[in-house]
């Protein structure tokens, strides 16, 4: 039976996918995940999920439109630069959006 493993580096971080383990039950899956995915890198916690419990949506599935594939400029802070400076929290939000836009451009290349 396959289990998907998500590792959290430090407390408060988001869990990210790191790989798979094979195990007949949850108890062994936890032990294998610990050995295979928690030993080298700093780890605060692991999530171990049965493969069958993970649903997947693919970008090329019919009817699926993930972010960045449709033209929606009006949804971005970068589209409304009416001034030169903005409150610090607005600037921070815009920096995050610029980063996301760069990721989208990167993916398009």
């Amino acid at each position: 039976m396959r289990w998907e493993v998500f590792r959290q580096d430090k407390k408060k971080d988001y869990h990210t996918y790191v790989g798979t383990v094979h195990a007949p039950n949850a108890e062994l899956a936890k032990q294998y995940a610990e050995v295979q995915h928690g030993r080298r890198k700093p780890t605060n916690s692991l999530w171990i999920v049965p493969k069958d419990a993970v649903e997947t949506v693919y970008a090329d599935d019919p009817g699926v439109e993930f972010g960045g594939t449709t033209q929606k400029d009006y949804r971005w802070a970068t589209a409304y630069s009416t001034d030169e400076t903005f409150a610090e929290e607005i600037e921070a939000s815009q920096r995050e959006q610029e980063e996301a836009e760069r990721d989208i451009a990167e993916a398009d290349r």
Binding site: W76, A77, F86, A87, E89, I90, A92, S93
Partner: protein
């Protein structure tokens, strides 16, 4: 975990669903997040009519995107609140429809003209964003996670609101005058966003001690006025003579004359008992009923059930 341990450990994103939190913490966090979630929903209801009434296709697209975002924020927050185990999402939505759920003072007032839209989309959202940015460091981790996504999206909302304000204030004289009138009507409510200055907030001490709140209302108000009074002036809005708001040269801090603000009205609003409260909550209640068939269809597909109805109010 007892309250002393919570206070000792309190810090950004310190506690999550895996922690055994005391009832006081769970109740305080639920009260705070439920208020926030309700406010997202009620704000969206005020803005929804302007999808139809937007003066151009660009504004229409942006307003519909914004309303969609706000409803999504409400859902994220109900999830973060639900994880505390005090109330379910359904309970919180029922409380809102029944008029028992509390929400932001500004969303108890009707918004009828296009010139009013930046009062919410720029000033109220700007004030909310200031507060939300500090909540990325709240001690309830699911709340902080919700803030990550909300703050990511909110930058567009406020810059769009600013763009509307500039467009109006560079438009014909009559439009500028109507915008100034809207500003004068909304400004006192916006000043009340952060509550009274002489801290009458009964929940702050505990919320701050356990890390749910990371900044006082007073500090938030100062930061908001620092950023937004110059913006208002820059676009040609004039602060009305009353309520008196000025910068004290000696302390280098903003002073808002409390006696110039209608606190009876504020506390009536806080009890959901203002005229506008009944109107806004009524809209929410009717919509909640009208779309019961959608919830029905989702919960038990193919079972028939309530007759479909439109949610248009």
């Amino acid at each position: 975990m007892d309250v002393e341990t919570v206070e000792a450990r309190a810090g950004p994103r310190e506690f999550g669903p895996g922690d055994d939190m005391p009832e006081e913490y769970r109740k305080a966090a639920t009260r705070m997040i439920q208020f926030h979630a309700n406010s997202e929903i009620m704000g969206a209801y005020l803005e929804r009519p302007f999808i139809r009434e937007a003066p151009s296709i660009d504004r229409k697209l942006a307003f519909s995107a914004k309303v969609q975002d706000e409803i999504g924020h409400g859902q994220l927050l109900y999830r973060a609140a639900e994880e505390l185990g005090v109330k379910t999402r359904e309970q919180m939505l029922d409380e809102l429809a029944r008029g028992e759920g509390k929400f932001l003072n500004c969303f108890h007032y009707p918004m009828e003209r296009w010139e009013e839209t930046p009062m919410i989309a720029f000033f109220v959202d700007g004030a909310a964003m200031r507060r939300q940015a500090t909540l990325k460091r709240t001690s309830w981790e699911p709340y902080a996670h919700a803030m990550d996504k909300i703050c990511f999206e909110e930058g567009f909302h406020i810059k769009h609101g600013e763009s509307i304000l500039r467009e109006l204030m560079t438009g014909p004289r009559a439009v500028q005058e109507r915008t100034q009138a809207a500003f004068e009507e909304w400004w006192p409510r916006i000043l009340q966003f952060f509550g009274p200055t002489d801290d009458q907030s009964t929940h702050h001490d505990f919320s701050a001690a356990v890390g749910l709140k990371t900044m006082t209302n007073d500090a938030l108000r100062q930061a908001f006025l620092n950023a937004y009074v110059p913006k208002a002036r820059q676009y040609g809005l004039e602060l009305p003579d009353e309520p008196r708001v000025y910068r004290d040269a000696e302390t280098d801090r903003w002073v808002v004359e409390q006696d110039d603000l209608d606190w009876d009205e504020f506390w009536t609003v806080a009890k959901n008992d203002y005229d506008g409260s009944h109107v806004q909550i009524g809209k929410r209640e009717r919509t909640q009923e009208a779309v019961e068939w959608v919830r029905d269809a989702i919960e038990s597909p193919g079972q028939g059930g309530v007759t479909p109805a439109a949610a248009d109010d």
